[in-house]
Amino acid sequence: MQKSLHIDPAKCTGCLQCESACSLVNEGTVNPAKSRIKVFSFHDEGRFVPYTCTQCDEAWCMQACPVDAIVLNPVNGSKDVLSDVCVGCKVCTIACPFGTINYNTSTGKVVKCDLCGGDPECVSACPTQAITYVDANATGLDKMRAWAMKTDNAGA
């Protein structure tokens, strides 16, 4: 059964432990600037919103990649960057209308959430269950994907 990240901003306290865990595991350093999940703060409303790739079906990044460096992970449904194939052209970073694939200036490659291969560290790190990893049908993922389709030029 396919699982996906379920983010419930109402439960987020803004502790940023997801960012620390993500950067530590994926980049080998506790550096929120290198995290693939980002917590946005809406200070005037006292609200925090963790935000990362929804692994959308359309996969704008994957479609736009000129060198086939982004591939579908058949197990997780995640779209994974093959770092050794990525040339660093950054076309995916403007093609993704969610802004969830980003260029890492120190490696010269792009990075995005790959669900940590099926055991997302942000989920383990979150103390309030604001981020959970659950059956994809229960997450409202379809709703987000429906929104994603609004940016689709090609239909199908």
Binding site: V67, V87, K90, T93, N102, N153, A154
Partner: protein
């Protein structure tokens, strides 16, 4: 059913794959003009700099990818199309018949008509073959003059600078990448290059090139300078490849004129990518965007309409670019230059080479450009493409443009943010 595609760039390859997805039985033939597997021009600068081998530029990496999809790659160039007999003639005389044709023949780099432009050691930088020639002809310290600081010129700049050449750029506009930057941003990119040891001459152009025998080439500019050059690279512009369509009755303007279904003026002939003059999302006008994401989307859309008939109209593609000029990253989206009756928000940190410019029409983002930003730049596309109403966030962005990601979450993804999904 025989689908024939002229061209094997991103538009052609994506079209071929989608034709197969929509029709498992049809015969699909893709004409490959260059004597190499389908590759990406986007990746050439990274080949030039030595980050990837030639294979690293190939559009598809899996061995037997096209064979596996039963897509026939045929090396050859089209020399004529006859829509009446539904036949393509190749250079060399071979004739291929089609039921439906996609022209995805791309574009070619041009050279300005100046004396000496065809001398030796003057190259374009457009094909894998051009890249090989530039690699072979330049060593650290070689004097290289780059004509044109447009998008392609700037991308090559990175690769040339990394090769350690002595580099001078000559650009006729008053700033760099004038097609994606305003004066502030284009000037910042120029200053960045100068700081990196690249000589940049703006507001002038090359008037002639002379070969004085054993010594290097002499490049003369309109403002009277004479510069020695071992190699001249010409990046002054590209032109859609349409010459072979002459006499076919297929209407050509700047590129092949297409309707909202990517069909040309002639039945059963479609066009996609850099050769197609497709609809622009922002203006509704028909325009050759010549960018990778548009080529991909054109290819998919053309395939859809070729198989299912005209059922999916084209809302238009958002014009956008991302550019790395010797490590300084810039983006532009949609109406980055602004619209009549619109409003502009600007954040500028010239010393740190950071810049952000947002263009609004009422409370909708219609264009944006950025410099020195690498995180979440795609939200600018998201906001422009969906036409999301920013509401209260418009005023916040006018004051603090760098809150664009929050504005995106609060408006375009409001359903995700405001309510906990069930």
């Amino acid at each position: 059913m025989h689908y024939v595609i002229i061209g094997a760039g991103p538009a052609g390859v994506n079209a071929a794959e989608h034709l197969r997805k929509y029709n498992s039985l049809a015969q699909i033939t893709m004409l490959v003009a260059e004597d190499v597997p389908p590759y990406s021009r986007m990746a050439l600068p990274y080949f030039l700099v030595g980050n990837v081998k030639a294979e690293g530029t190939y559009l598809r990496k899996n061995e037997g990818h096209f064979e596996g999809l039963n897509i026939t790659l045929k090396h050859g160039r089209a020399s004529a199309v006859d829509p009446v007999s539904k036949a393509i003639t190749l250079l060399g005389g071979e004739v291929i018949n089609y039921d439906k044709l996609l022209v995805a023949s791309g574009a070619t780099a041009t050279r300005p008509p100046i004396p000496g432009i065809d001398l030796k050691n003057i190259f374009n930088c457009w094909s894998l073959a051009d890249s090989h020639k530039i690699v072979e002809s330049t060593q650290p310290g070689s004097k290289v003059i780059l004509m044109g600081a447009g998008f392609i010129g700037c991308i090559i700049l990175e690769a040339l600078a990394a090769r350690g050449v002595d580099l001078t750029v000559i650009e006729m506009e008053n700033r760099m990448v004038s097609r994606m930057t305003n004066e502030v941003m284009g000037t910042m990119i120029k200053d960045w290059c100068v700081n990196k040891g690249i000589k940049v001459l703006t507001s002038t152009k090359v008037s002639r090139i002379d070969d004085d025998g054993d010594s290097p080439l002499t490049v003369s500019t309109e403002d009277g300078q004479k510069l020695p050059a071992d190699v001249v690279i010409c990046a002054t512009g590209v032109r859609s490849n349409t010459a072979f369509l002459e006499g076919s009755g297929i209407e050509v303007d700047m590129g092949i004129v297409v309707d909202d279904f990517m069909q040309s003026s002639v039945a059963d002939v479609f066009a996609a990518g850099d050769v197609a003059q497709g609809r622009d999302l922002s203006t509704g006008d028909y325009y050759v965007q010549a960018i990778q994401p548009t080529a991909v989307e054109h290819g998919k859309l053309a395939a859809n309409n070729m198989v299912f008939g005209k059922r999916t109209p084209h809302p238009g593609n958002l014009n956008m670019n991302v550019l790395d000029t010797v490590g300084l990253i810039s983006t532009s989206f949609g109406m980055w230059m602004g619209v009549d009756g619109g409003e502009e928000a600007e954040m500028s940190d010239i010393g740190n080479f950071k810049y952000l410019n947002l263009q609004f029409k009422d409370d909708v983002l219609v264009g944006a450009s950025s410099l020195g930003m690498t995180q979440h730049v795609g939200v600018m596309r998201g906001l422009i493409q969906t036409g999301a109403h920013l509401g209260d966030w418009k005023a916040k962005l006018m004051a603090e443009p760098n809150r664009i990601s929050e504005a995106y979450l609060a408006s375009a993804q409001a359903q995700h943010v405001a309510t906990a999904p069930v």
